[in-house]
Symmetry: C2
Subunit: 539 residues, 2 copies
Amino acid sequence: MKLTARESDLAVSGPIVIMNRDDCLELGVGPTDRVCITGGSSAVSTVLISDSFIPKDTILMPPDMMAKCSVWDGDPVDVVYYPMPESIRSIRKKINGGVLDKEEIDSIVSDIMGGNLSEKEIIGFVSAFNVNNSDLVEVAYLTRSMAGTGKTIDLGVKPVFDFHSLGGVPGNKITPIVVSIVASHGMCIPKLSSRSVSSACGTSDFVDTFCDVEMDADSLKEAVRKNGGVFACGNEDYAPVGRLIIAAERPMGIDPRPMMMASIMSKKVALGTTHLLVDIPMGAGSKIPDMETGESFARDLIDLGTILGIHVECAVTRADQPVGSAIGPILEARECIRVLEEGDGDPDVVDKACSVAGILLEMGGVDDGKSLALETLRSGKAHEKFMEIVKSQNGDPGLRSDDLVPGKFVKDVHAKRTGYVQFIDNASIVAIAKGAGAPSDLGAGIELLHKVGDHVDVGEALFRIHAENQAKLDRAVESARSRRPMAVQDILKERTCGEMILKRIPSKEMLDLIRFRRRIRRTGPSTVIYVHLNTVSIT
Amino acid sequence: MKLTARESDLAVSGPIVIMNRDDCLELGVGPTDRVCITGGSSAVSTVLISDSFIPKDTILMPPDMMAKCSVWDGDPVDVVYYPMPESIRSIRKKINGGVLDKEEIDSIVSDIMGGNLSEKEIIGFVSAFNVNNSDLVEVAYLTRSMAGTGKTIDLGVKPVFDFHSLGGVPGNKITPIVVSIVASHGMCIPKLSSRSVSSACGTSDFVDTFCDVEMDADSLKEAVRKNGGVFACGNEDYAPVGRLIIAAERPMGIDPRPMMMASIMSKKVALGTTHLLVDIPMGAGSKIPDMETGESFARDLIDLGTILGIHVECAVTRADQPVGSAIGPILEARECIRVLEEGDGDPDVVDKACSVAGILLEMGGVDDGKSLALETLRSGKAHEKFMEIVKSQNGDPGLRSDDLVPGKFVKDVHAKRTGYVQFIDNASIVAIAKGAGAPSDLGAGIELLHKVGDHVDVGEALFRIHAENQAKLDRAVESARSRRPMAVQDILKERTCGEMILKRIPSKEMLDLIRFRRRIRRTGPSTVIYVHLNTVSIT
């Protein structure tokens, strides 16, 4: 059926067009049915039916749908009935408790990518693909299938290291430090980070304040070959179907574990990762409430890695207060770079960065990774590598932490009594920093002047709010007043700084390696080449 | 915010209104957010945002939404932002593999009933509530909660018997026979049936050809008190939330087992059923492909019944060809009434009806239920009770099967070779009957002249299509040509008529009773009162 395309400004989620009742009758299309629309190209959409909104012989399309069909307002399009996609059978099978094979999962992923499934149908799949209703082999199929919807990169070197944090803890600014330490030992670590979704600052948000983070696949390859590491921002090149799934999930706030695992791992598969460390922050505000959940998640990730041929290790880390003292783009960048410049700094930041880098170094064959990581940081070698990467990402070759100046509108929040800081509420800290304008106002955020375990006197400043204008500062102060971001009590609480890794969960192979090393250490020579892992040159 | 309501004819699924972008900005409402609209009454809806469809200060509402808010086109309404319902947390918990308690399930059901959840969110719940992700206690909470959304009836007598067929087998016309047999023994059986959804004829469709089936709660109570049984049509009085869930599920063709069980049982809970027999048709076209699935479904239903305090038994029955030979409203009514008039007839119909009635009689305390059921049918006692019920439902007091005349436009379909009928394809038979106009054309349908195992000669009529006009007859004949409704081959196949129950799956208590009876029969008196089951008077 030939119809005239008309642009609609109706903000809907998912591909939806509106057609006249008579046209629908003629085409045999009922409510919630699908049509395939062909202009310069073709796309599938669900149909809403109306008489009054749209005259006969026309079709109302939202702008993104017009783009997909390569048509402009007033262009003719060909519209045909599009039967229910076959993949709905597979979704149904999953909902009924069945096990899906590779072809079935591929067809679902390809129909999501092609826009052939409605958000309702995507939610049906996501919800059924839950932890009690799917096995790791299905998750592995899903992971590979998702990776296949975008670019896959062959860096031409092996092994390829990576690390990933599940998120949920503010101030987690370790990425540039970890990448610099690891890459300075000649290891390859093409680290893609993300921008904030609901947090006060994502890694790419603060890295963006001192160098470029957007990088296409070719520049990524080149940068990794040259420097070993990047601090880039993940984009639509890799596993782009993930964005469509998240768009359906987000309004409901869901992200079941198997889907989360597939989403994380699909990007690693696309980048050719061979060795992955996953940081699992545990505590209030993070996705992991307790050690049991953390360990079971770690086991699943390690086992999924085995199926995918990726060596995965996990570390459950502290998330009961922010990492370091800065929250917000410029504040975090400054704290991060300061640690690299000085080879030292906030004990939590140093400990977490060096522990994570240390495990990665050990995955690469080093014996005592954390010591090597600390040494690399203290010697200035990490800072040297950091500056190499910054320059290659078009940053200032003379970059100094002091160049980064946070928002000048500041207000301190004071202790109402004398005592010890008992806890810091991550959610409140994030809310206040966002109130101040973070992450879009780069200078906005929070500086913690005390952390859990510190003694404070009544009237002493607990934290400082930075903003770029008075109105937002006032808003943040108001937000601080209505919440309880820090609790001060009489009870003496020991500071827990500097033990950021609560539990390391090595894979089976890593356990074997650790045992092997112990044996060697007891019996054999002082230098060993661990032939059963992919070793890398340690300079 | 005060807006003017405007009626929209946009055919959408779920509650959706359209608002102007400026109004939404002012109200702080984004896409997929919800608003609460108050006119004479209040209702919640998801918002679509547009500039061009709708001027500022107005709100476009579909007719059912206007009805829910008690407003007419042009009326003022008050619109406020409606936060995400709390029950979405519980849906999320279920998707993440959690176990829901009574309060959580109640809040989901109440939000579905109130229209506060979108179809996407309902699908999220339904999909997560699958067989591997929910336990029977949750299903029981869901069942009771669904029952609580409508009327619940106390018939004032106990026990209350019922039976239910999972459906999927055409020509299953046993309900009036079973109800008449069981009720003629003084047992109470308020049987509610349904109309066709996708089949050629539902029970209420054929019963409607000879008496009224619509009955409100009060008339139902009165009729059951008077006659013991009814052949009524289930309506929105009982567990009405089921309709909203099915409306969301149907376009995707999903109905996971726990949801199906809750849906079936919620209506039984509403009617105060104490003893339920579930007929589980097994075979091509039915929901149950094999005995293993059938037995596991039966186990779940029996166990769910135990939690709900309903004594459940199941019978897996043949569904490899239609029951009896008539498909279509008038044809089925005629075959059914003929069996009652003659006390005999098609062996499948007689066997299935008397087996089902027999099990119900045994659940009521009778020793050899099937023999009693056959005797009741043959003696004319069942027909007598049937006529009592028909008259009380405003049917013709002189009703005879021969009064029912099927469509006069007929066409026979003949065998193309000599041999034995190997199989009858239920789906094709249904499609042809629907092509002929069933169930809306009451006289349309199919008469099978041969069934599986019969010997036929080339050119002999296999089945007869009835229609009410030539066009539909032609369409049905065309449909028969393009399909393979019956296969005739050389292989001798034994007729399987008259053994409709493949396996009876009694509950644990029933098994105990059967064992108890065997012991009594071997050792004791010939008449026993089974005190450990609710007994009824057997006249």
